[in-house]
Symmetry: C3
Subunit: 279 residues, 3 copies
């Protein structure tokens, strides 16, 4: 039984600094989402300071949405620094199935022991295929948008959790979190969410904040923290949709809903179910 409000309250109380090396499209939205939830965002990508910031931060997130050689190098250094400092970090393998460059980048990063890997169904299927040394992805995503079902992604998530040691968060109409043994399904969310760019990327930052929030020296367990972040995020989407007229007003209402989320309502409306992995 997970009460997501417990972790949200930790974030609000401790204002975790989340260092993000993310794509250009998502930076502003991600920063606004992190401010709305009560965290403190830092975006920085230079090799000269990536490791230093990763050590300062309570969590690190790495997103390959607009990759380049220089940035990938900084991502590697930051991940190593986070590991050395015991800082949790989250990998977001955007559109990993689209190009050879992304497959190679994601393979390297996934081997650097991320705490959590978050992607849509097509990304998780593609990343699992890459790690599994299949020469071509079997996922259907041609770009950044998902075209595979959550059922199709479940086996990939389980295999990827076991091969990387990471908790895998597959997000979409239904979210799935898997640590290789346990599975949680989260049924919050709204169809307008994928109509706004970067909400998936920004969710990666929220997971980072939930992993990094620390109260009296203790952090949330990563599996529970990830599940809590997804339920909170999805419920804010449901609340925002009640007043939205389309994707523009939805994006505005969503930030307001994240900031205004009542903790009692969150625990009552979170739709989380648990079971063991099938295989």
């Amino acid at each position: 039984m997970i009460n997501p409000s417990v972790t949200l309250a930790r974030v609000r109380a401790s204002t975790p600094l989340v260092h993000n090396i993310t794509n250009y499209v998502a930076m502003q939205t991600m920063a606004n989402v992190l401010l709305a939830i009560g965290a403190s965002p830092a975006m920085a990508h230079a090799r000269e300071e990536a490791a230093e910031l990763a050590r300062l931060a309570s969590a690190l997130t790495i997103n390959i949405g607009t990759p380049s050689i220089d940035w990938l190098s900084a991502m590697g250094e930051a991940a190593h620094a986070a590991n050395r400092a015991g800082t949790p970090w989250v990998l977001d393998p955007v559109a990993v199935g689209a190009t050879a460059f992304r497959r190679q980048a994601a393979r390297r990063l996934a081997r650097l022991r991320p705490t959590v890997i978050r992607g849509n169904t097509s990304e998780i299927i593609a990343l699992n295929a890459v790690i599994d040394d299949q020469s071509r992805t079997t996922g259907g995503g041609k770009g950044v948008d998902a075209t595979d079902s959550i059922e199709h992604a479940e086996a990939a998530a389980q295999q990827l959790a076991r091969s990387t040691g990471a908790i895998i968060a597959v997000t979409g109409p239904r979210d799935l979190v898997c640590d290789g043994e346990r599975i949680a399904m989260i049924d919050n969310g709204h169809p307008l969410m994928p109509r706004v760019t970067a909400l998936g990327c920004a969710l990666t930052g929220v997971i980072g904040a939930f992993l990094g929030a620390e109260v009296m020296g203790t952090q949330a367990a990563p599996f529970e923290g990830t599940v809590a972040a997804l339920a909170y995020y999805g419920l804010a989407g449901q609340q925002a949709a009640q007043q939205a007229q389309g994707p523009g007003s939805f994006a505005v209402q969503f930030l307001d809903a994240l900031a205004a989320m009542d903790e009692t309502t969150l625990d009552r409306e979170a739709r989380i179910s648990h079971r063991s992995c099938k295989h």
Copy 2:
């Protein structure tokens, strides 16, 4: 006679993947605009993957708003790849008149056979002067904002269409589309549109989506597709302005209006007129 709703319906039915190498300021807005119209945006700029993505995509757009040597190199590779694959592509020569660096960049790209070139009056006049090997632009734009009239731009658009083989879209209070023989004028739009950054850049993406939308193996003709995109975009601006209190709320309403556009209303309210080139 152009019914813009026909092309909009194609976009909504086929969800074209539009690959954009655009400027940092515009990326988020452009992605949100493309999602709002029913397309699938992909932003990526690395040389290592530019050609691969340009081949995957239904259309490519290239925008020199925040240019650098590395990005220009990727733009060239992507344009070549699009040409080889028969993928339509759109050039947006932002502030081409402002610096020697931009004039050189735009000259090279304009020679790579873009399907459409979109700019404001000052940009089209400046680009035509650059292609015409005039040493200095005669346009008045000092930055990214236009300071020339559409009448002044018409001769430049016609000459540029003939010298590059591209369809030229000049956007402003009145829009003009010219393929060297025909001219269409579009009188939709609203004065709040240039008060929001990146709406011109994002329009370049919408033209890309309209060129790339494919239904049952057929694409819209580029001239008609471009005209349809401008009428749709301008009408959404008119609708958004009805509820806006200023540029902030206008930007929000505009995304909602793009997503909600009724196809019958579009055909009824589109103000498109046609004639031949004068010379």
Copy 3:
């Protein structure tokens, strides 16, 4: 006695071109803020054109929020070009206390005679320590957010004004402007402002526009222009908050409020007080 509306009216009448080399997170918001106030924003960072643009512009702003070696090089060239052209320029030393890379970058830029340096309390304290050759900052900011009081920052602002020759603008719940002799305090603003990313960075652009606005060949004096910018910006925040439900809707209302600001109201509601430096 400063009437902020005088400088706002200059901006609206002269549409100053403001060249910004700023961070990726802030670019879009900064451009929208500058358009809302009636200025013309230009974002560009390439060394190949930085100096040319800095000469074309009425003002230059430099922000180290997402620094890299290449961009810092262009910042230096642009600052030199602005100085040679007599163009005012504003330095925004984002998170200068966080890493050695930022301390070094900010030290170099602060020595290039910026007209104004704007930061939050922690940034001004950290930058002063850097310039003062203290090996470690004494400020408390761990990231981009401020953790020091305005009283703590006052002595640092005064020392920094004297060592750099710049006017120092310290922004937060209370703003302070110091030129080494005089101090102005501005008590406009609202607690939602730091809950929206990049509003501090965008304010740096507004200061640039207020410094660069020229009517009949005369510019506002930099001290008075800076104070006017802060009062205007803070009052727009107060007005926006009246209708906002949270940080998302606040950001939208804020752009509307900047654009709609009535000049008489501005002079009536501006809360500006003056005194001499204490030491």
